[in-house]
Amino acid sequence: MSDNLLEIRELTVEYHTDEAVVHAVNGVNLTVKRGETIGLVGETGAGKTTIARSILRILQTPPAKFCGGEILYNGQNIMALSEREMRKIRGNKIAMIFQDPMTALNPIEKVGFQIAEAIKLHNKITKPEAERRACDMLETVGIPMERYNEYPHQFSGGMKQRVVIAMALACNPELLLADEPTTALDVTIQAQVLEMMQSLREKFGASVVMITHDLGVVADSCDSVAVIYAGEIAEYGSAEHIFDYPAHPYTIGLFNSLPKLDSTERRLKPIKGLMPDPMNLPRGCKFRDRCQNAGDKCAERTPDVVEVSPGHLVKCVLAGRGDA
């Protein structure tokens, strides 16, 4: 068995609308090792969620269209599976935690039932057995099992997200896709949920793809990081190396635009301008309009990926030359 649970190679996804083609994901390469937590960081519209949904094959096609690349899960190309085979993996081996717990649950079913449903679907067990395991899952995420028969509206936001996490973990998945799992929650509740995910990860040994825009969350819970910009991976490497030696101008800009808790400076350093329109991406480097160091070379063609140190990849022509 190889070390790599998931390998994404040159994944390209477009959305075809009446007016235009949206280039959402443009040749993304990504590897998730067993037991690893990888953070996908980027701004709204960078393509993070599209990548996650591609892995589960839950993108609506059309308008979405897979234009190339492959996703290997345990060495098997997910793109080539039939829908029937895919259904055995989805929610069982690969599960997803959605961003908004308010809409991820079915409002007219009891929460316990919603967890038991997933368990029963993927395991040959009786209904009472599935219910018993659903109760266990509730307890695991810190909800008393007496609340099995309650409906989502009777839970607070943090509790609902716990239910969503319980559902995702119910079948003991190998890979967990967490799409902004704490963005809709208050900081104190976020701390609870992150802490819980950490201990569950240790307990279940799952790999996690953590999608977030919050570098604080990444520092807190990720082993490696992929910084996504305009559907491309701008920078990729171990979390430690990227936080210590960020090399892509976009990553550096992201760090600089954060208000620091210990800073005394009177002004933040934002990245100027906006992310390019994915319907109309510029030639060459996608970041060059906002980049302080951009030169003529950046407009010529898409930069190659440079390995600035072992395992630390940067998509920038200036990377590794010390002046990026």
Partner: protein, 315 residues
Amino acid sequence: MPTLVEAKNLKKYFKTGGGMLHAVDDISFRLDEGKTLGVVGESGCGKTTLGRTIIHLLDPTDGQVFFEGKDITKPTSKELLALREKMQIIFQDPYSSLNPRMSVSESITEPLILQGKLDKQGIRAEVRQLMDTVGIAARFENSYPHELDGGRRQRIGIARALALKPKFIVCDEPVSALDVSIQAQIINLMLDLQEERGLAYMFVTHDLSVVKYISNDILVMYLGQMVEKAPSDELFKNPLHPYTRALLSAIPVPDIHNRKKRIIMQGEITSPINPKPGCRFMARCQHASEECHAPQLQKEASANHFVACCKYQQI
């Protein structure tokens, strides 16, 4: 600097099916001209209601509000109209706070027409000027909100708030809906405007790193009450209330070598409907004991540092 806004024992209760909801419960503060008061707390703690009650979008249940030394708790409609020029609000969500059927220039023109001080040409010039001030290029004049990104929309919200040259602006989570790189642009804009125009801000947010950056004083709210208030640096250096400590420890810091020990609170915010007289944080507090059942009084722990916890010296 003279005091611009002052609240004294301000209360705002809402009647609900289950009883009285204490959204803002006995809050007092002063805000000087040109300064920023940060108000932090979790969803449902009453921070937005506080902001809205101060500028009279909501009528207070009890207590007083002063503006430029004048009691404005119960203004006549004529007084209120005059006050609106001086007190404005920037809303949280730039997607729903703008009229989708109004173009950029129409949105910014609206308050100027209502004010009725400028003629048509004057208004046109003023709108151009405002767009320039908040950094929206003139070519967007006839665009509609749906054609713009969140950052530009929030700039329009700011231009609208600035149009009547107010002295005081309530900023209700103005950057929460924006991406970090855009967030920094808007925060810088607000700081520039404050310096140029001597504006006072009440900055309502749940993002503690932003609030530290922008505020002179910070007021921490929990279930409608003020649990702690202190100058910004002091609060971060020396938090006294157990809730403030837990809140500060919960901020995820983008520093990989400093994964700090979080104080994980048990449970979640309890209901603000018919709360009991004692400390409202008691149920989640690891230091709670018998004496916390009594009402908690504000104590001045050091100069300008107020805390509402009877045990702050022991913990």
